[in-house]
Symmetry: C2
Subunit: 468 residues, 2 copies
């Protein structure tokens, strides 16, 4: 980055908050993608600068300056993205939001929590502990994830079956537009449950992967904390049986907090890697069902119903974890599946299909495994049709069929009504596959929306939307 | 409309489906706004033509033609809009969707109902009766409302407290873009629970009031039908007490299906108008709380809790309606409040404020009542902060303070973090007030989004977004 730019940035945020140290710039330039998908993640271009703004006002000045000088700006949260969403592909201002780390308000009357962008999910949950009746349900795997990034990426995760994804939790936002204006969505206080005035730019901002604006504050919906929680693990001898049980459970009116699918090899490895033990002895394929109910009695009644339904689908075992410690262990093991095998995996497309088509998609995957003579382990948010399909290394390297297999994984999902990404977003890694889902005209509309917000294309340029 | 246009349209849809009869064109040009707000609703411009397309393919041809000839096109559902959202302000093609009236699929595995645009809420509920465990919660007042219009307007209504508004129910759509392309949102089947591929154009379409595309199919989320239903009516002697009880109930973790606020004069009039009796004898101000729970026992327990909470807020009476007939009566009376007094009202802004600010807003309304020496009855979806403030006629006419009072009603809502419309949308009637909520830059972005979808501005031109 040119020295004159560095000097100008220092004038905005102060000398202390502009960092050019190559090692630190590198650590701010890499994200979880680089750690998890070492062989296929793009490495950052050098020469960027890290800027740590104090507030929306400073961010506004930075964006106005970047617009004038046509410099790319990348909003940086916890760096937990998984599709090369924040890795500089050109010399950039890496705008770290870490100083925007305050929980602004726990508003019990409106049942919401208002946070600055860099409040992590862990911080948020810690803050809610002091409150005995409201909680935030969402849980993408990494508790380091920050609310600004979670909104920007429309995070999902395991606990999305009952209350939905991030999009459903955001009631308001403060955003700095690429052209520098500070705007508020969800009314001036970000506390509206209904708003039909004009196009819903907040919904557009959610999931836009840092390309339309810098989210500086988020108001999150809270829910009454369920009084009775339990996690069931149901074991099956076949994949098909496990997946067939999913719609059967939901159709009965049982809506768990989470309904996950995991496989034996991966879950046992994940458990061992963090020094814990996966509690199920029998079976190879597991449904992990997190129940949250009003009363203990409901828990047992629903447990009994699930036992009956899954028995009809040839379940070989069922366990129930009721203590907080047991349940936490199970969630931790589940969250650790991908990190635990990151040295074995090339990539992990997070395709999503209609929930009822999970079985069909798994049969297709079986065919792909045969076609490429490999194994594709699967972790799935079975309750919402979202799969993480793991593409494994071959003898420690990228197999020559990688591109072809990946394309098949995406195309087959799209062909049966699915999407190329249900959680991790497009980033750089899925840009070329957007064409599988959208016509030229739809992509053109997306480009024009990007232009409307960001006429000079300074914000996270080249990520998430194809640019001419 | 020029004869050559009529002939061209007949070539697309067939002679039978093009109607120029002035009386019928007028009835397709007017909407509920004209019936409810007779003195302030704009009257339609004459000379439009009604076209009844068979399917998305014909609609595509009509839009391509309209683009070429630069003719305004207005999508027409049931005509239940309330903000002059579909009244022609210029010679238009009124594109009636009435032939797209098929329920396409009740998909129990994915818990969704796929309908063509003109399926009414009544039809939809009728269809779901044959199914003993899934239901659709939303209930905007008029069961004639059609799903395409409900999505286009992001309908709300009374039953939005537990499961949210229309935006939260739409899993997929088929839409004809203004330029004629037929596109599918939510994957090719419209059945996705998670999709993070690209900007979420479906969310943008929801609530865009027919200005960005013609919705031809909608997939709606269904929920397990609650086994125990009850409606409580809690009576208060003061407005403030009634509203103060609302957050107190919700904070306790009681999330009803609906939490409504009504006032004695209006509710008794509505009841009488449809030959029914409002069951509460005491009190002037009422909370109407619709509970949907898993078990009968829960209903009684929650009822007892509400009794205690509302007693602390000086409730003077509580009634419980448990039979289906009683509950239906109450909902019908509630839905009839505005129709029953339509001959007395000038207008009814549906401002929304943060739920905790309802009391504050009502105090402001009291001041406005004094300032203008009038009465402003209020009907409120108290559970989500959404009010319908009624502006009354004076001696059967529009009072000279109407514009000024209306502006005060909007501006005061916006000033305390609210919106000018929580349900009915912008239409023609609120266009000038969008500036209260959004900066020039935000309105410019909205305009450019409109341009991206509709470069020739043929779709519902001049409604909902300020045009240069």
């Amino acid at each position: 980055m040119k020295q004159v730019v560095i000097n100008d940035l220092k004038k905005i945020v102060g000398d202390k908050w502009v960092d050019q140290n190559p090692e630190r710039v590198l650590s701010y330039s890499r994200e979880s993608t680089n750690d998890n998908y070492t062989l296929v993640a793009p490495e950052p271009i050098e020469g960027s600068v890290v800027v740590k703004a104090a507030d929306a006002e400073e961010i506004s000045q930075i964006l106005k300056y970047a617009n004038q000088e046509k410099i790319n700006v990348i909003a940086r949260g916890a760096g937990t993205a998984l599709s090369a969403n924040t890795i500089p592909a050109q010399e950039s201002i890496i705008l770290s939001l870490e100083r925007l780390n305050k929980i602004l308000e726990l508003d019990e009357e409106n049942m919401l929590l208002k946070c600055e962008a860099a409040v992590s999910l862990g911080d948020l949950n810690e803050r809610l502990k002091s409150n005995d009746h409201l909680y935030f349900p969402l849980h993408p795997g990494d508790e380091g994830a920050q609310v600004g990034g979670m909104a920007s990426m429309n995070a999902g995760g395991v606990r999305a079956v009952k209350h939905g994804i991030m999009r459903n939790q955001v009631l308001g936002m403060e955003v700095v537009l690429p052209t520098g204006e500070i705007v508020h969505y969800g009314g001036s206080e970000g506390k509206l449950l209904k708003n039909n005035a004009g196009y819903d730019l907040m919904q557009l901002m959610i999931g836009s992967e840092g390309t339309l604006g810098i989210i500086t504050e988020v108001s999150l919906k809270l829910y009454p904390e369920p009084k009775a929680n339990g996690t069931l693990i149901v074991a099956f001898a076949s994949r098909e049986d496990a997946f067939a049980a999913v719609p059967a459970i939901l159709k009965k009116g049982i809506i768990p907090m989470a309904l996950e699918y995991v496989e034996k090899d991966e879950i046992e490895l994940a458990a061992a890697d963090i020094g814990k033990k996966w509690p199920a002895q029998n079976g190879e394929y597991f449904l992990m069902i997190m129940l949250s109910e009003a009363e203990e009695d409901d828990l047992f009644e629903i447990g009994a119903q699930i036992d009956q339904i899954t028995a009809e689908h040839n379940a070989v075992d069922m366990l129930i974890a009721q203590t907080t410690a047991e349940r936490k262990d199970i969630l931790e093991i589940r969250s650790h599946i991908l990190p635990a095998i990151s040295d074995k995996i090339i990539d992990s497309p997070d395709v999503t299909v209609p929930r009822s088509k999970l079985c069909e998609y798994l049969n297709i995957l079986n065919e792909l495994e045969e076609k490429y003579n490999t194994r594709c382990p699967v972790v799935a948010h079975a309750g919402d049709g979202n799969l993480h399909v793991i593409i494994l290394k071959e003898a420690g390297s990228k197999p020559d069929y990688y591109e072809s297999l990946k394309k098949d994984i995406y195309q087959n999902a799209v062909d049966i009504g699915g999407t190329i990404t249900g959680e991790h977003g497009v980033g750089e890694m899925r840009l070329e596959y957007l064409k599988m889902m959208y016509s030229e005209r739809e992509l053109e509309i997306m480009e024009k929306i990007k232009d409307a917000f960001d006429p000079n294309d300074i914000l996270n340029s080249g990520k998430s939307i194809i640019r001419k």
